[in-house]
Amino acid sequence: MSENNDSFNPFDPTGMLRNMRDSNMTAWSKMMIQFVNTDAYAQATGTMLDAWLTTSAPFRQVIEKITTQALANLNMPSRADVIRLAERLTNIEMRLDDLEAKLDEGARTNGRVAVSTRNKPNPAEKQP
């Protein structure tokens, strides 16, 4: 998106600085792309993420246990209860969608029957 100024102008220090900046950025960018594409980087980020997930897991479990217990003591639904309810609602929605599909199909079939009945020649009309 930026304008590419290849021509060198000694009387434009801003332009010179910009060119220097762009050249540095290009070099820095290439270096970083190469760096993140190494196995060492993949290994390091994977290990760090894994270490964080492992060390934070017990804390998360404790917080979840305490919250669930507190909600139960207050006679309130837990996160798991709400999730179960939402899942059931989705299932109901799917059933409704199935019903709608059947109604659509029925309407289409009836439409076809009606059309074919209309198109059928009336035997009474054929009689002299």
């Binding site: 792309i33 997930l53 929605e93």
Partner: protein
């Protein structure tokens, strides 16, 4: 004095410069917000299921000039589909509507904790067939075309291979991540297939994988461009209204991250990235084996030559495996998003897709 002669106060240049910097800073701050008007093409919701919504766009041309075969757009599950209709005057949706297509768009929505187990089986065999049934019912056409982008392309490919007789006539795949045999092709596959990367642990910890985490991963593939260069380029072009508005709408879309369901993430990393099951022919969705040779729809695969998220090799290999008679591979210079939303899209990618489709659509 010279300054007085020109009517300018001494130090006027410096004052002007400071004023300009202040103005630019204000513009820059405005652009950091995510309130650009995107996805403006008129549309109506015709079907919903859970968080998913199916939209039908209001046609822009008279009915007698419209194509009868509907075109169904399916975007990735971890981003909003608004990029297909970025802003008035620069929108793929608008472009296709002007060409007389009956357009439908599936917005997967943002999954909640109750959706953490949703996986590609559900998207492919539960959501997509239902949405397609609705499209057929509304359009009155038994045949349809489908365009999938990124993970949307993966889902549409799975569907096309599993349900080849369901009326799918044309399939357009944009930057489709399908073939993961080259474990050194790009950062994503290198990171996720490393033995230290454990997708199960991430899903166990988060349930749904946060959108910010996925966004960070995508940006970290080109860290200097995404975290520094992007903003410097904007600063340099703050006087250019076209660039500014384009940047603002793109920033609004990019920063609207949505989580990816835990089930889909686990499956993506383990079954696709690590084990490459689709290409090996060992992928099963709800007990049905996905056989790419059963895919019979006409197929156009669009590859972004500078794609760092889905490197070209992840879309190329599939062409030899699919059973379609009519297949074309189209290469475009650009990145993962740029080929459809960049400034060159309306001169290269969109016309090619439109012409390819028009030749195969009633």
């Amino acid at each position: 004095m010279k300054a007085t002669e020109t009517g300018q106060a001494p130090g006027g240049d410096l004052y002007d410069t400071l004023l300009k910097i202040a103005e630019n800073t204000q513009t820059f701050q405005r652009l950091m917000t995510t309130d650009a008007k995107i996805a403006q093409s008129p549309k109506e919701v015709i079907w919903t299921l859970n968080k998913a919504k199916l939209y039908r766009y209001v046609p822009l041309v008279p009915e007698d000039r419209c194509h009868r075969t509907p075109l169904f757009l399916v975007f990735a599950i971890m981003n909003r589909p608004h990029v297909l209709d970025l802003r008035p005057g620069h929108s793929f949706v608008e472009y296709m509507l002007k060409q007389g297509y009956d357009l439908y768009l599936l917005d997967w929505g943002a999954p909640g904790p109750e959706d953490r187990n949703l996986c590609f089986d559900d998207y492919t065999l539960e959501y997509l067939p239902r949405a397609i049934r609705k499209i057929k019912s509304v359009s009155g056409s038994e045949e349809f075309s489908m365009l999938g982008w990124c993970l949307g392309a993966l889902i549409t490919t799975l569907y096309a291979a599993l349900r080849p007789d369901n009326g799918l006539k044309n399939l357009i795949l944009l930057t489709a991540p399908l073939d993961f045999s080259d474990k050194n092709a790009g950062g994503f596959i290198r990171w996720t297939t490393n033995e230290s990367f454990n997708a199960d642990k991430i899903v166990d910890a988060f349930g749904n994988v946060p959108g910010e985490m996925i966004d960070y991963g995508a940006k970290a593939l080109k860290p200097v461009e995404n975290f520094v260069g992007n903003y410097l380029n904007l600063w340099d072009n703050l006087d250019n209204a076209k660039v500014v508005e384009s940047w603002h709408s793109m920033n609004t879309w990019v920063r609207d991250n949505i989580p990816m369901t835990g089930g889909a993430y686990r499956q993506l990393i383990n079954a696709f990235y690590k084990e490459n099951r689709l290409m090996n022919g060992t992928l099963e969705l709800r007990g049905e084996r996905v056989d790419l040779s059963k895919l019979r729809a006409n197929i156009l695969t669009v590859i972004a030559e500078n794609d760092h998220i889905t490197p070209p090799c992840q879309s190329e290999g599939v062409m030899a495996k699919i059973g379609s008679q009519d297949k074309e591979l189209f290469r475009v210079r650009g990145g993962h998003i740029g080929i459809m939303a960049g400034s060159g899209a309306e001169k290269n990618t969109w016309p090619h897709i439109q012409q390819w489709l028009a030749a195969r659509t009633v």
